[in-house]
Point group: C3
Chain length 163, copies 3
């Protein structure tokens, strides 16, 4: 990371892991109103099928470009989108800080989201990888961009909550 | 955690990850007789449905309050509980050290336990989160309390081995 | 690991996690041609059912003993082995550095590989543990040996890509 101080590299890596853990906790606890606060005002959040991402096709299942749009989504989840509630459980592994570019820290990880509906067994809901750009603001790391590139086909219409 | 030495915070976080990895190894290898030694003499181990935990309902699927009770459970697993053996595989992510309280280190993580029965495909057996209180004793971290709060319904009666 | 400098232990542990993350990325991206470069020239790569490993039986589902054999496997995957392509997604947890022996760093982790076939839901493809021997070469960690000891029965013939 150009710092040449190994302790700083280690501290950054663990800070990113901590950010990912807090993000997962927020969603797994269903505290969707806090979700936009993980992002900068102008930001990108996209949920993209892997096939589209790998081919450079722009079509995303969800695409939001500001914190305001994220808040609208949360309102939709809470108030207008008809859906059966379900639990999410995020398992995140292979967290990596891969570099810096244009003032952003580049990072990523693999993820698996397990879904549990009432009175049903848990299932593999969505698996894929996070591709992130992070910035530091008032001492906290925020997402300038989070792409969720998912392997799992067949289920995009049923994704109600953020991944 | 109040140490103001970032290296100590980092060392503690990695020590907790290591504890969780050794705990998982113990159970995944089926070395149940070693499982009570991860706990203090007086201790709490509970397996609780998420719905009960979130509503503050005390009803737990399993609840043990001492190392002796944990040893009784291990005896039961080995000698008296009728069950078909199965393999467990723990996947633990999002390990966090969140603070200190009353001499305990507060920590937690998300977990997924994969079960494999003889001649059957692996399945998602139990997913949830660990909520832990740790103490240091003779240089080792021990569990004063481990709550396993699980999302997965429908399966509690079939949980034989510790999670 | 005998260094008596906690920062070195921490740096090694995070370096091993990074190696595991890069290895998973390579396979999850389907960049199989790069896979042999994670290994030393003379090396061991085995995929072994847990039951055989635990009983000390030598029978492995796959067993390669040199980088050349790994390259042959990659050629087979690309050119000769008939199979329906599928996506892999590795989730790795509980990374541990457990010691040193004969110039090798001993390490391991639990893993879960999720498979996604075209137009099918994702499934639990293979769960198990990695048992590794690592060596440092020109500043990089390489696998002198990687054993993938898998719990999951019933599916070995359908394993085409490396785990």
């Amino acid at each position: 990371m150009g710092e040449h101080n190994p302790l700083l590299d280690i501290a950054l890596r663990l800070e990113v892991e901590n950010l990912y853990a807090r993000y997962a906790d927020c969603l797994d606890h269903g505290e969707f109103k806090d979700w936009p606060d993980f992002f900068t005002e102008e930001c990108t959040y996209k949920l993209i099928p892997r096939e589209n991402h790998d081919r450079g096709l722009p079509l995303a299942t969800l695409a939001f470009e500001s914190k305001g749009m994220l808040r609208d989504r949360v309102f939709g989840i809470s108030e207008t989108l008809f859906h059966q509630p379900y639990y999410q459980r995020h398992i995140v592994s292979g967290v990596r800080v891969t570099g810096e570019e244009g003032g952003h820290i580049l990072a990523g990880a693999n993820y698996l989201v397990i879904r549990t509906k009432k009175n049903q067994p848990s299932d593999l809901f969505n698996a894929g990888r996070y591709i992130d750009r992070l910035v530091r603001s008032n001492g906290r790391l925020l997402f300038a961009s989070r792409l969720c590139v998912f392997d799992t086909e067949l289920i995009p219409n049923s994704i109600i909550y953020p991944i």
